[in-house]
């Protein structure tokens, strides 16, 4: 009789330094990796807790207005928290509740906003948010863009909001030519603020700017470099192997950087960072201290995997899980609200 084997993604492997740092946050780390959404946290026993949900086309995630938001395919989903008992133990579960049809915008980042996240829409070179009656409501365009055309001119790659409310955006180039960012990928990237002031230039595909405490940090995908931006200077603080594909602040001192093989990157043909001899270069998340750049820990995704395109923390929730909108569990689980009389 033939044996039946259920093929599940291999759980990622953490170093002790990674476990200690993630455990100290008492939070769940959400990692979006090629249509897989991992929920990772550290049990009281010190072990890594991991669950994975398959969400077709998932590329970006963020925590906003006490909900998890995931951009997947043509939709922006919000996931609301319910407590689900598993083996008698309560665990926070995030159920898909509402989705907006935003279209295929080439979402490169989601940024916590007011009630909904802000979408970094590379296809239209704008920041936008989901709308009830339209695909999106554009809320910001870089000063060099004078009209909307669905042709990815400068390739906006990320945005963040600082502790002082400053909005910072990364772009692969400052061009108005259709797909103009592609020929000038190396050395044309910029970091700008909402007024269009250039904070840093000459970068190779900068991506997903993040504040770690008060420090503004960007990852330079095509160079494999993590840089600190401030005081008119752009300081390299770390170089990691492969193409850097995502970033998230773990706490006020540490940055998570997702990186992996250039051949699996969203944009291929990049040289990426150093590739130490003998390194199989699995996709991985490296945790570095800011501003020293010291590597504190690693999380390695073994076997086949795809680019890690987004990471976000669900603060204060350990052992959280995400339920896929497409799975049977989402339809079998029913979160019933409190009775609210009609009259």
């Amino acid at each position: 009789m033939a044996g039946l084997v259920e093929l599940l993604p291999m759980p990622p492997l953490p170093t002790k330094g990674f476990l200690d740092a993630l455990g100290s946050t008492r939070s769940t780390l959400i990692v979006v990796e090629a249509s897989r959404v991992w929920s990772l946290s550290v049990a009281a026993s010190g072990e890594l807790l991991s669950t994975v949900a398959t969400i077709d086309g998932a590329v970006a995630a963020t925590w906003c207005a006490e909900r998890l938001w995931i951009s997947a395919g043509f939709q922006l989903w919000s996931f609301s928290e319910v407590e689900r008992r598993s083996g008698g133990v309560p665990r926070p579960s995030f159920l898909p509740q509402e989705a907006f049809s935003i279209g295929q915008l080439d979402v490169t980042d989601l940024v916590p906003g007011g009630e909904k996240p802000i979408i970094c829409a590379a296809l239209l070179d704008c920041l936008a948010r989901a709308h009830d009656n339209l695909s999106i409501e554009p809320v910001w365009v870089p000063p060099w863009i004078d009209s909307f055309r669905p042709e990815t001119r400068s390739y906006l790659t990320g945005a963040t909001v600082g502790p002082d409310g400053r909005v910072v955006i990364t772009s692969a180039a400052m061009t108005t030519e259709p797909k103009g960012w592609l020929p000038s990928l190396e050395g044309s990237g910029v970091v700008v603020d909402r007024d269009g002031s250039v904070l840093a230039s000459g970068l190779s595909l900068p991506r997903q700017p993040r504040y770690v405490g008060d420090d503004l940090v960007i990852i330079e995908s095509a160079a494999g470099t993590v840089r600190q931006v401030g005081g008119g200077e752009v300081t390299p603080i770390s170089t990691l192997p492969g193409v850097l594909s995502s970033a998230a602040a773990l706490d006020e001192q540490h940055l998570l950087v997702g990186h992996g093989a250039a051949s699996r990157a969203t944009v291929t043909g990049l040289s990426g960072g150093m590739n130490p001899e003998g390194d199989a270069l699995c996709d991985r998340i490296t945790l570095i201290a800011i501003p020293s750049g010291r590597v504190v820990g690693e999380l390695v995704f073994e076997g086949y995997s795809g680019p890690i395109t987004s990471m976000t923390l669900i603060p204060g929730r350990m052992g959280a899980e995400v339920v896929s909108p497409a799975g049977g569990a989402a339809n079998a689980l029913c979160a019933v609200g409190d009775f609210r009389p009609l009259f």
């Binding site: 319910v82 509740q97 279209g103 709308h131 554009p138 809320v139 009389p341």
Partner: protein, 372 residues
């Protein structure tokens, strides 16, 4: 009065389903300046209007088990499906048409998951919010962006507050954007016992007063308010009925050959959905069986247009093939040739709709929730 044999010459065939219509159906839609939207579970939603040559224009897409439908006639359609409630918005401005001549283009803008609650009728309230009939939990409910549903009203006889279909609450009549009446197959209070009351224990209930305003109905569905009057599809008898909620009298106005369910109005005309019972299923063993035999007719799946002044079945549209249910039908006023974007084609990803004015400085502040 039309007979069910005077079809137009050329039936439409789509995915193995054959669509036949009475000779006057297209011109009736044209004269009334309306189109129809309906679903045939398990997988289709349809829009029927007229084309440029006065012919029927039939548009269909895949959508999972379309149940209740509602429109505010201002560009929004609400569709309850197997596990979700979809809100479609018309993307065209007045007078605008698509390159292929559609004068409405409904886009599935927002979906809310409600889970496996056996959703039936849906309603749009005056403030734009929704109400859904949650048959599995026996309540009217609102969808939410935080939970699957919020219970809003329970039948007065039902003391259970959990899952389990006791009375088969299924229909919702809205009036001026507010809930007015609901239909239940019985007043049973134990799970699944409504099945025993299918022949004659159906009721209509006033949602505001909790009063039962009509009794003795056979699997009533789709209560509707029209020009101040209360109507119901008494599915188990195959009759469209006018109801006096003061006296409780139920007056059959017309017979339609099928399990009548789904109801909408155009002036004096009722547009009624019809499903096919099958021996041994939930819709058989009802007075409808005898009525069909008496009329010498088979049950049909489709839409009947009934002149409520005479009770005559004046037009019809039938669907032949491996489907047998139709849950609801909705009239789109001032619409000649509607279309909608499905969930499986490329358009839902590639068609982008947004205000092409460049945003001002305040737009980002607003999005960030910053007050300056």
């Amino acid at each position: 009065m039309a007979t069910l044999t005077d079809a137009i010459d050329e039936p439409e065939v789509r995915d193995g389903l054959e669509i036949l219509a009475s000779e006057g159906m297209a011109s009736w839609l044209d004269e009334q300046n309306v189109s129809l939207v309906f679903g045939t579970p398990p997988s289709k939603m349809w829009m029927v209007g007229i084309g440029g040559e006065g012919e029927l224009s039939i548009f269909d897409r895949t959508l999972d088990k379309v149940m209740g439908l509602a429109t505010d006639q201002r560009g929004t359609i609400l569709a309850g499906t197997r596990f979700e409630v979809w809100r479609f918005e018309d993307m065209l401005r007045d007078g605008q048409t698509t390159p292929d001549g559609h004068d409405r283009l409904f886009f599935p803008r927002v979906v809310r998951k409600v889970g496996n609650i056996n959703i039936h009728d849906v309603g749009l309230c005056a403030d734009g919010s929704d109400l859904i009939v949650n048959t599995r939990f026996g309540c009217l409910a609102s969808t939410s962006d935080e939970v699957d549903f919020i219970p809003r009203w329970y039948p007065p006889f039902l003391d259970r507050r959990g899952q389990g279909d006791c009375c088969h609450l299924n229909g919702l009549a809205m009036e001026d954007g507010a809930p007015r009446y609901v239909s239940c197959v019985s007043t049973s209070t134990t799970v699944d016992s409504w099945r025993e009351g299918r022949r004659d224990q159906g009721v209509l209930i006033d949602v505001a007063t909790n009063e039962i305003v009509a009794r003795g109905l056979s699997m009533p569905h789709s209560p509707r308010m029209h020009e101040g009057g209360l109507w119901v599809a008494n599915a188990g008898t195959g009759e469209l009925c006018r109801v006096d909620p003061i006296t409780g009298s139920v007056e059959p106005v017309a017979f339609g050959p099928g399990f009548l369910r789904g109801l909408s109005f155009v002036g004096p005309y009722a547009v009624v959905g019809s499903s096919k019972p099958r021996r041994g299923d939930l819709y058989s063993g009802l007075p409808l069986d005898d009525a069909l035999a008496e009329h010498g007719m088979d049950a049909h799946l489709g839409i009947f247009v009934i002149d409520t002044r005479t009770g005559d079945l004046v037009h019809w549209l039938l669907i032949e093939g491996k489907v047998r249910e139709l849950f609801d039908v909705c009239v789109l006023e001032n619409t000649k040739r509607p279309a909608f974007i499905g969930l499986q084609g490329p358009e839902i990803a590639s068609e982008l709709w947004f205000d092409d004015q460049l945003p001002g400085h305040e737009a980002l502040d607003h999005a960030l929730g910053v007050v300056r």
